[in-house]
Subunit: 202 residues, 2 copies
């Protein structure tokens, strides 16, 4: 028994599935999210569903009102989108700077594999999966630089932004941009990495 079988809690799986549905547009803005129906869909009781809805609410993908229920959020306004880009850049530029020391060979390999997966999803035209791996790339950096604290602040901003560009920007450029960022990090070149990052976040 050498293999480490990673167990993924049901609530995370459900949250993941719903995030995908919302980001992909399958669940349109303002769609009512009925607890009972979701419970049946995932084959669990309403308890875990409520947990997930609360989580997604705090992530900004869902809005909920007392005694009324939850529904899918609407896209950000233009100004809010602009502000979000600004903040996201600030956070991730911070991440780039602070990540250089902590970056080991293993970390770099992990990031290589993330990019490989990006490429693979792009080749197979799995754009929702591509988006999720895209987020994963950035999350890796943010977590390494600032831990869960920073991820906590950063994550809702990114998720909410993603609601806006639904399946736009699905060119090879996207993958290449991330390769350039990683190249900069690997060369310990903050300026290059930051420049590539700024190009990617928009």
């Amino acid at each position: 028994m050498n293999r480490t079988n990673k167990i993924i809690p049901v609530r995370e799986q459900i949250a993941d599935a719903l995030r995908s549905d919302i980001i992909s547009g399958e669940l349109a803005a303002n769609t009512k999210l009925n607890e009972q129906q979701l419970a049946e869909r995932f084959g669990v009781s309403r308890g875990p569903i409520r947990d997930v809805l609360l989580k997604l609410t705090k992530e900004g993908l869902v809005v909920s009102k007392n005694n009324i229920g939850s529904s899918v959020s609407s896209p950000l306004s233009a100004e809010m989108q602009k502000l979000s880009i600004d903040i996201r850049r600030k956070i991730e530029e911070f991440a780039i700077k602070n990540v250089m020391d902590k970056m080991t060979e293993n970390h770099l390999k992990e990031m290589d594999s993330i990019i490989e997966r990006m490429q693979s999803h792009f080749d197979n035209e799995e754009y929702t999966e591509l988006t999720k791996v895209d987020i994963e790339f950035h999350q890796f950096l943010v977590r390494l630089a600032g831990g869960e604290d920073l991820v906590n602040i950063w994550y809702p901003i990114v998720l909410r932004m993603r609601m806006n560009y639904q399946r736009i920007k699905t060119s090879q450029t996207l993958v290449d941009e991330h390769k350039t960022i990683l190249d900069g990090i690997r060369a310990q070149d903050v300026k290059a990495a930051t420049a590539a990052l700024r190009k990617n976040i928009k």
Copy 2:
């Protein structure tokens, strides 16, 4: 029956109480939060407690691990604190700019009353309450400018920062700073308001 008796849901009351305990330092960092005990303390079942803990986790005040439970977060690192100040300024400067159009006489009156409450809490040396009203002041601006979307992003940052300066900075200056911000807004003077804001956020 003319009076509008505002009903506050149990979960919000519990969340509020716990936030106070954490911000005031009554619940020290890394304190384990037992669901059963909390349920007994507030006289409810574990269901609502779980909801609140999940909420506070997303707000950054609490950390929770699967099958292990929740505990009070530890203060931010120095770098993270610095970054948080930067982001918070960015958001609230945005708020100042965007709030000028939307600001009505009624809104101004509401903000006056918030400052009155700040003064009163300061006079009575109720510093935890003072902190909460301080947050309320800024939240009012942020909400008016960017709605719940922006509050969602902003709130965890502020809460987390507050964990760091526990009951420092409890001088009359604090109240005055907010008066100056409001003066600037009232005069529709973005520059003055922003300058006052930057002094206040640190």
